[in-house]
Symmetry: C2
């Protein structure tokens, strides 16, 4: 018994991703998201208890997608150096795609939202904090494999280095978003990343 589920919730999440990533959380209203999704406000609040909860679920959806991609890129079947090369290229390709789609360089959705809301909404801040830690874990594992290979110094503090790499990348992406210009990242990220890692 009961009605079959619809794609309304997913539509709202997809639209939220577009609008919030493309602008910002506080600049986008629930009405904006509803209008663009062609969903009435009553339906919105049938699926989400609040705007903040939509943001939380949107971040979950983004991270699920990232996980699929990163599980492949950082697969232990690959040489660890190749993992970083692939990731750098993936970041660039993703940014090119999104900037074409949304008309503006958007950077990292987690960093952008996290920076905006960390001081405003504790729950969102913590969620994004966790997501960042998960991303750094991919780097840390690949770094450990690089140490095992003898490709980087054996006394490398892989946890610290992983966080440096993460900060380095989101720093570049924030700059690209501010300048609305991807060219620096396109030209330099991959090489600069390998240099930061400290390949012998």
């Amino acid at each position: 018994m009961g009605r079959a589920p619809t794609d309304t919730k997913q539509k709202l999440i997809d639209t939220a991703r577009e609008l919030i990533w493309g602008e910002s959380y506080n600049a986008v209203s629930v009405d904006d998201i509803c209008k663009k999704s062609d969903v009435k406000k009553g339906s919105f609040y049938h699926y989400f208890p609040s705007k903040a909860h939509l943001a939380l679920e949107t971040m979950d959806a983004c991270m699920e997608e990232t996980k699929l991609k990163y599980d492949d890129i950082f697969s232990p079947t690959r040489p660890p150096l190749e993992r970083f090369e692939l990731m750098a290229r993936h970041v660039i390709e993703q940014q090119k795609e999104i900037s074409k789609e949304l008309g503006h360089v958007c950077g990292c959705p987690f960093a952008t939202l996290g920076s905006e809301l960390a001081a405003q909404d504790k729950e969102i801040g913590e969620k994004i904090s966790n997501i960042c830690a998960k991303k750094a874990a991919y780097y840390e594992s690949a770094l450990r494999d690089l140490v095992a290979e003898g490709a980087i110094a054996s006394d490398t503090d892989v946890e610290v280095k992983a966080n440096e790499i993460f900060a380095f990348i989101i720093g570049h992406l924030i700059m690209a978003r501010i300048k609305n210009d991807l060219s620096f990242v396109e030209k330099n990220l991959e090489r600069a990343l390998l240099n930061l890692i400290g390949i012998k």
Copy 2:
């Protein structure tokens, strides 16, 4: 003839700096800023034609302060390596101060506002873009002096490296803001920075 100028405008800028840096542009209202400054709304619009113009002038004020500090830190009378060391320590001290004052790690005000508004307000995006370029110019000049000293490789692309340093720092500060935790930056920034610069 005429009335003497008051400190009302400055009060509004100071409050805007606190509130916008501590929360975000879109989360803070003109009413919030007026109330905290103990200034009526009519006065606000006597000094600023719009909320965006207040943000622009607030960024100018921040940059003026930064310039005073950086002109000292990056004075050509100092050994270039010392400039970077001093800057790293200054960033940490400033963050500790502000987080104590505002109750939250706040990161770089330019990066935070720029990331939030780059896609929303072109004028603010461009202003912050310029400010970032000015900061990178300090690094570039110090890097050139390091090359002249033979402290880093003579084929270093100082312009690229300066932008990498800038991205590296704001990446760390965004992370600290998201996590509301300065400890990683405190422990690692200075050493990581010197490593990134590539001191021989």
